[in-house]
């Protein structure tokens, strides 16, 4: 009836005005009552030629295409490095067990997690050498997107996520990552805007939202991980009611650890806060770099916590060599405001606050992980040395031993290690964007393997494999 009375143009206008209300971001689903067969968690059973005994984790930092290309070059180097482990010849890449990533690094991590070695055939064209930034910019001029952006439940990040989903990740969800059944276990990291804490896209984290991760698009996780402040808007997740939620023991005890272990206490508290779903029915996520721009903290947690997948393998004597490769694509922003007497305006201050915070604790986090490596080495040496002394006395007792002696390595790939100042400055000055020139991308891909080849820790690790 309405259609008969109304001119056609008015009907179109009405439809046009009504549509914004329909545009809505992709909503994460509630956890089903029955646990799904496949969930996206670390699987302690190694398979497909990957052993637990040689355990390798990679951390890919943020930094747009610069960081993505640097980490891609490292993957190429690991693929080309042939090793023999336990009598089996393979590439070092075959032994990578986990990747934790931030922002630009998350594109490479997610692509490798989903498509494996296909990354070496098509990833450059699909992402590294593509003008993703330009495509996202021009999509804002699409009238259809104007309509959708008028909705309060649809924003620029949703357009970016759709682009990544269609052009890079082929519509894959975490089901695809869970179903591969092979390693590496990829942890894509974002930051919860409410408390500045890291948020990882794993089922262990989604348990705290009472949500199932498997149906969630990988592209949206990558979009959250790379939602650079001011340029992009946050990704929103729903926090479902926690009626039947059982707090894992490690968290339950951690909440009582304020006097004895402040780090564990805050770790537990920052996850447990999601249990108050009435106060926090939604979670807004932005660039993972706001919490940790090198992606090391999830690996550190897996190494420290009694429920951590690395800690459990350590204590069960499964790991003999533990290798952590930190691929840090950070840059040095040129300071121009310090030359000016007048205080900088909001337009200058805002992006600095966002990016300075990103780099603030990177070095500290790397050093904290090195301290853990050194502590383990020292503990093993002390036991061996004391036992040797004791063995000189007949009838002396056997000291308690670790289930295995672990040979740990922390390897850094960082532009700062480039000895030639001009070359170092070239890389440290590359912009953070999703559109670099092809020669810049090629230079970044080349420098990763070079930095590994010049790393004393990497060379020591390779030598240790040869001398087994």
């Amino acid at each position: 009836m309405i259609c008969r009375l109304m001119p056609r143009w008015a009907l179109v206008c009405l439809l046009f005005l009504a549509l914004p209300g329909c545009a809505h971001y992709f909503v994460n689903v509630e956890k089903p009552a029955i646990q799904p067969v496949k969930e996206y968690r670390f699987n302690p059973e190694a398979s497909g030629g990957n052993s637990n005994s040689l355990f390798i984790c990679l951390a890919f930092s943020g930094g747009g295409t610069r960081a993505a290309a640097l980490s891609y070059g490292v993957l190429e180097k690991l693929k080309d490095t042939r090793i023999t482990w336990k009598g089996v010849e393979k590439s070092l890449l075959d032994e990578v067990d986990c990747i934790s990533s931030i922002s630009g690094g998350s594109f490479t991590a997610a692509y490798y997690g989903l498509f494996g070695e296909r990354i070496f055939q098509d990833y450059r064209g699909r992402f590294l050498e593509a003008d993703v930034q330009g495509s996202l910019f021009w999509s804002l001029f699409n009238p259809w997107n104007w309509v959708r952006l008028a909705s309060p439940y649809f924003s620029r990040i949703d357009i970016a996520a759709e682009y990544y989903d269609e052009h890079i990740f082929e519509g894959k969800s975490f089901t695809a990552l869970a179903e591969t059944g092979r390693r590496p276990f990829v942890m894509l990291n974002a930051t919860n805007l409410a408390n500045g804490e890291r948020f990882e896209f794993t089922q262990d984290q989604f348990d705290f939202l009472m949500s199932d991760l498997t149906s969630y698009p990988v592209a949206r996780a990558v979009a959250a991980s790379s939602a650079f402040p001011f340029l992009l808007s946050p990704i929103t997740l729903k926090n479902y009611p926690h009626a039947h939620f059982q707090l894992p023991k490690d968290y339950e005890l951690g909440l009582k650890d304020y006097p004895d272990n402040r780090r564990r206490y805050y770790w537990a508290r920052n996850r447990a806060m999601y249990m108050d779903d009435a106060a926090l029915p939604y979670v807004h996520l932005m660039d993972g770099g706001l919490a940790d721009n090198i992606g090391l903290r999830p690996i550190e947690a897996a190494h420290q916590r009694s429920s951590g997948f690395i800690r459990k393998l350590f204590n069960q004597g499964e790991i003999e060599k533990f290798v952590l490769i930190v691929v840090n694509g950070h840059t040095l922003d040129k300071d121009t405001m310090s030359k000016d007497e007048s205080p900088p305006g909001v337009g200058t201050v805002a992006p600095i606050i966002a990016t300075v915070a990103m780099e603030h604790y990177s070095v500290e986090t790397i050093e904290a992980v090195k301290d853990l490596r050194n502590a383990r080495r020292k503990a093993q040496k002390n036991i061996t040395a004391c036992q040797k002394k004791l063995d000189q006395c007949p009838g002396s007792p056997q000291l308690p031993k670790f289930p295995t002696e672990i040979d740990p390595y922390v390897i850094e790939v960082d532009f700062e290690a480039i000895s030639d100042p001009d070359r170092r400055n070239y890389f440290l000055s590359l912009p953070t964007s999703f559109a670099l020139e092809k020669d810049q991308v090629q230079a970044l891909i080349n420098v990763g393997p070079q930095l590994l080849n010049e790393s004393p820790e990497f060379l020591a690790f390779i030598e240790s494999l040869r001398s087994q």
């Binding site: 009582k256 650890d257 004895d260 350590f314 503990a379 289930p403």
Partner: protein, 73 residues
């Protein structure tokens, strides 16, 4: 990190905070703080679990936690 050793007359898997974290008589490396220690099956040990606060240990001076065979074992 802190160090723990769990004693039991038989070799058994050790649970720390409900997660398998090594075996009896092996040195277990765990972060500082409050932990619940128990053993894997069969459940012929006593007590069922022990809550400890791990701190100020060293690899040469670990915290020792002992379990006994239960009388009905």
């Amino acid at each position: 990190m802190e160090y723990l050793i769990v004693r039991f007359p038989r070799s058994r898997r050790v649970l720390v905070d409900d997660e398998f974290n090594g075996r009896t008589e092996d040195l277990i490396e765990i972060e500082a703080g409050r932990h619940v220690v128990s053993l894997g099956p069969p459940y012929n040990y006593t007590p069922k679990e022990q809550t400890i606060i791990l701190k100020d240990t060293a690899e040469l001076d670990p915290r020792e936690v002992s379990f006994d065979l239960s009388s009905d074992a």
